[in-house]
């Protein structure tokens, strides 16, 4: 697919982020930026602090040091609500769906920020509440259509195979119409075909909606194929940053992956 995307300005910038859990350092002094409309990959061996990095970016974790600059606004740290409200959506490494709900309801929850009706209006089920409900449903259906999961609409998410759950989680993130999407290992544990589909979806999202995408992925092939720029973390430190071809030839990276002693 020929890309017409225009990579734009820096939208999100993390600066000297350090994060530790009860003394255990997860990230130390990492800085990098993300540009509008690009697909930015974060790679690194297990325990390199990749997921923690995403969690810092959308305010799940609060770093001890460093700042997050989002759309020009410098923050000591993000908080999840602001992140979501400013259009950062997110999927998790080990699926974070609402197991007690159907696929449709799960995805509908992704619309909650778009619904302004008070609980009273919703209780009486009139006017705005109702309208918003149906508008959201339509949007949700578009995404369901987009991700080709029509056949499982009414299924409780618990009953779905892993690959489809990942898709549903992506759907939930997409219906929020985010400007930035953080994907934590979207293709982990998928078979070749599922991976191919997921790649297609990620690219399509980036193309059709111009969504900026930051993703963590282990499959090097995938990363090199779809990402514009790659950050490499190892033991919580940044050891590489640049376009795929450059990363491929980066000695530090190669060492890290071959597990050469530091």
């Amino acid at each position: 697919m020929v890309s017409q995307r225009k990579i734009g300005e820096v939208v999100l910038k993390v600066d000297g982020i350090s994060l530790s859990f009860g003394g255990v350092k997860a990230i130390s002094g990492v800085s990098f930026d993300v540009r509008e409309h690009e697909i930015r990959a974060i790679i690194g061996p297990n325990g390199a602090g990749k997921s923690s990095m995403l969690n810092v970016m959308n305010g799940v974790y609060h770093p001890q040091e460093g700042t997050v600059t989002f759309r020009g606004k410098v923050r000591r740290d993000m908080n999840t609500y602001d992140a979501a409200a400013h259009g950062i959506a997110r999927t998790f490494q080990n699926i974070a769906l609402f197991r007690g709900m159907s696929v449709l309801d799960n995805i509908m929850t992704g619309r909650n920020l778009k619904m302004k009706a008070t609980f009273l209006e919703q209780a009486i089920w009139i006017g705005r509440a109702r309208r918003e409900e149906y508008e959201s449903r339509r949007k949700v259906e578009e995404v369901i259509d987009f991700l080709e999961i029509q056949h499982i609409r009414r299924t409780p998410v618990g009953r779905l195979p892993y690959g489809l759950q990942k898709r549903v989680e992506l759907a939930r993130a997409l219906v929020a119409e985010p400007s930035m999407l953080l994907l934590d290992e979207p293709m982990a544990g998928m078979n070749v075909e599922e991976k191919r589909d997921m790649c297609r979806f990620v690219l399509d999202v980036n193309e059709e909606y111009g969504t900026t995408i930051v993703l963590i992925e282990h499959d090097m092939g995938v990363v090199m194929d779809i990402s514009d720029r790659v950050v490499v973390l190892d033991y919580g430190k940044k050891i590489g940053d640049g376009p795929p071809e450059e990363i491929r030839s980066n000695q530090a990276v190669i060492d890290a992956y071959l597990g050469v002693a530091h």
Partner: protein
């Protein structure tokens, strides 16, 4: 034997025919666009088209459809499409694709629906043969195929797609949305243009060109006029009293004459609602939601459904299984009679009523057949058990007989007089005659105008008296019911001189759920042998229940247990054949189970899944020789095409099985 002497079915013909002929002059509703506008005027708000999209059944009223068609037509006109041109239509059943047919016809153009599952290579021939310049294509998948074909199709200039998904960066294609905008623009600029174009339309104009997948040679474009299809549709609607309140599921290939008659011609004639499923793999759920009142499917679909029912019932609780067995047995005995309102013992009627509450009605419901008033099957012979099953549970399933050349309109089974081994009586307005050769000849307004650019073919299929040679061999049985035996050209003779009707035998075989395809040989030989394709679903399930492990089709097909299973089926067929006098010599002596499924992509079947006998005979010559030798097995390698176009090799050492044949006399005594 009635052969040779003309038989005019049911007296209505002359009068009706007469009216049809004369009426046409002043009949204002003699083209499809006019019918459409008529509905839009008469019942603007009534639902015309539905499509399951974005989770709900999006509905378009007749007025809306008319508006869309108008815009499409104007758009096409603005883009230079004009009278006499061909418009290719490629894709699954989508409202806009149906509408574009009407749009093309409104401009005096000719719609050319094509089989969407054909590979690009097959597109090339049709696109060139029909000198296609304009194509309306469903989605990215189809667009890719068309674009792959275009280099070899110089005429093709304009391509429009319905679903923009993934196509935003494509060069040289435009969206239907855009075309509609252009159309509305053009319409505003040229008021009255559309009406004028529709007014120019003539009942004898060709309205549609359907390509016969033809069991031999290249496909031929069958040109049908508005009149032909409208008369056929009217005949059918009158015959079954179909009105505007009907609702039908449009899921069969649009390029198939059957779908064109039911989902287009009758749609516009009767003015009922057509419903397009969400996607190919949700057809069954969509069918259940819609609950059509009028249904059409080739036998294999009814067969798959029944197989599904059986498989799902296997897992049901003992009680349910017992109920099911108990009542289906009862239904098999009295169901059809009760459906035909024939007398039946009161006790049976009561029992059936109970069964209806406990089993039949729920079953019809889960199959989405609760509301069906009339269901038809055609395109191939249907198994008596299969056919009886549906009728016995209260589905008014009937057979019709026809072909692309006759608008799928030759014979219909009237309510109350349904037989499984005939295709019914001559439809209103149709004359049937059996040639000395046994071939079925038909004449009437539904006949094709011509084969496109194939005067030769046209000449040889329509004789001097205007009778069309169907190529089927048939006989009339009990007063006016036509019984089709086989393809005329396939009917041959065994070395013994006895009659050999391969399809007849193959169908008997295919009536077993375990057998998907069969090819019988024997013309000019001393005995009959056969290739078998097992039904993966049914046999696979059978194997699992018996804990027989298998890796795939080829492996399963080679299992001795499976051979035994199939042998039993074959010998049952032999027993039946033994009872049919002249055919008793056609009992199958040896058979083998093919190592691969016969597949249209390998040219072994037509798109409509008819076996290409000759082609198969060449391709598997070694196997045939083996069958007629004394060999007990034969090694073979075959090239196969996969869905994604790649090719590979399948090799196997095929066992050859012997089967018992009963002496005709003995069988008769047994019977």
């Amino acid at each position: 034997m009635l052969a040779g002497k003309e038989l005019v079915a049911s007296g209505i013909i002359p009068s009706k025919k007469g009216r049809a002929r004369t009426a046409r002059l002043e009949d204002p509703l003699d083209t499809f666009p006019r019918l459409l506008l008529q509905h839009a005027k008469a019942r603007p708000a009534a639902p015309a088209t539905r499509e399951k999209d974005l989770g709900i059944w999006q509905t378009w009223s007749w007025a809306q459809v008319a508006a869309e068609v108008r815009a499409l037509a104007c758009g096409l006109a603005a883009q230079g499409f004009h009278r006499g041109m061909h418009l290719a239509i490629i894709g699954d059943n989508r409202p806009r694709l149906y509408w574009s047919m009407a749009a093309a016809q409104a401009l005096g153009g000719i719609a050319v629906p094509m089989y969407q599952d054909a590979p690009a290579a097959e597109f090339v021939y049709v696109l060139n043969d029909a000198e296609i310049a304009y194509a309306i294509v469903e989605d990215q998948e189809q667009v890719d195929k068309v674009l792959e074909a275009t280099p070899q199709v110089p005429s093709l200039k304009h391509i429009y797609f319905d679903d923009p998904r993934g196509l935003r960066d494509y060069e040289g294609v435009a969206s239907l949305e855009r075309l509609l905008e252009i159309g509305r623009e053009y319409d505003r600029a040229h008021p009255g243009f559309f009406e004028a174009e529709v007014a120019k339309g003539n009942a004898d104009d060709v309205s549609i060109m359907l390509y016969t997948s033809g069991t031999t040679g290249k496909p031929k474009g069958v040109c049908q006029t508005h009149h032909a299809f409208i008369v056929s549709a009217r005949g059918g609607c009158g015959f079954d009293k179909l009105g505007p309140e009907e609702s039908i599921l449009s899921y069969l290939p649009m390029a198939w004459v059957g779908d064109h008659l039911f989902s287009y011609a009758q749609w516009l004639v009767a003015g009922f609602t057509i419903n397009c499923p969400e996607s190919a793999d949700t057809v069954m759920t969509d069918m259940r939601e819609i609950g059509p009142t009028y249904f059409f499917a080739p036998p294999r679909i009814f067969e798959n459904l029944l197989t599904q029912v059986m498989i799902r019932m296997e897992d049901a609780s003992a009680l349910k299984r017992w109920l099911f067995r108990r009542f289906t047995a009862l239904a098999r005995r009295v169901g059809p009679e009760i459906l035909d309102r024939k007398p039946a013992p009161l006790a049976d009627r009561l029992a059936y009523a109970v069964g209806n509450f406990l089993v039949f009605a729920p079953l019809r419901n889960v199959l989405g057949m609760s509301r069906i008033r009339v269901a038809y099957t055609a395109g191939a012979a249907i198994g008596p058990d299969l056919f009886r099953f549906y009728r016995s549970i209260g589905v008014n399933l009937k057979q019709l007989y026809g072909s692309t050349e006759t608008c799928a309109y030759v014979c219909l089974q009237p309510d109350g007089a349904v037989k499984f081994d005939t295709v019914g009586q001559a439809a209103p307005g149709v004359e049937i005659r059996i040639a000395d050769s046994g071939e079925v000849l038909v004449r009437g307004p539904m006949l094709l105008k011509e084969y496109y650019k194939r005067a030769d073919a046209t000449a040889e299929s329509i004789d001097r008296d205007g009778f069309f040679h169907t190529g089927d061999a048939g006989v009339f049985v009990d007063g006016g019911q036509l019984k089709i035996i086989d393809r005329a050209k396939d009917v041959g003779k065994l070395a013994s001189g006895a009659m050999f009707a391969p399809n007849y035998i193959e169908n008997k075989l295919k009536f077993f759920a375990h057998i998907k395809e069969a090819v019988a040989f024997g013309n000019g030989r001393d005995r009959v042998c056969a290739f078998i394709n097992i039904d993966m679903g049914s046999v696979g399930n059978w194997a699992e229940r018996r804990g027989i492990p298998y890796s795939g089709y080829t492996d399963l097909a080679a299992k001795p247990e499976v051979y035994q299973l199939i042998r039993e089926c074959v010998e049952q067929v032999n027993a039946e054949l033994a009872l049919e006098g002249s055919l008793s010599d056609s009992q199958i002596r040896r058979f083998l189970i093919l190592h691969k499924e016969l597949d249209p992509d390998d040219d072994e079947l037509t798109r409509t899944r008819k076996v290409r006998r000759g082609f198969i005979a060449e391709k598997y010559a070694v196997l045939i020789d083996a069958l007629y030798s004394s060999k007990t097995s034969q090694y073979i390698e075959t090239q196969v095409k996969f869905e994604d176009g790649r090719t590979g090799m399948v090799a196997a050492d095929l066992a050859i099985a012997e089967t018992k044949a009963l002496p005709a006399a003995a069988a008769r005594r047994a019977a």
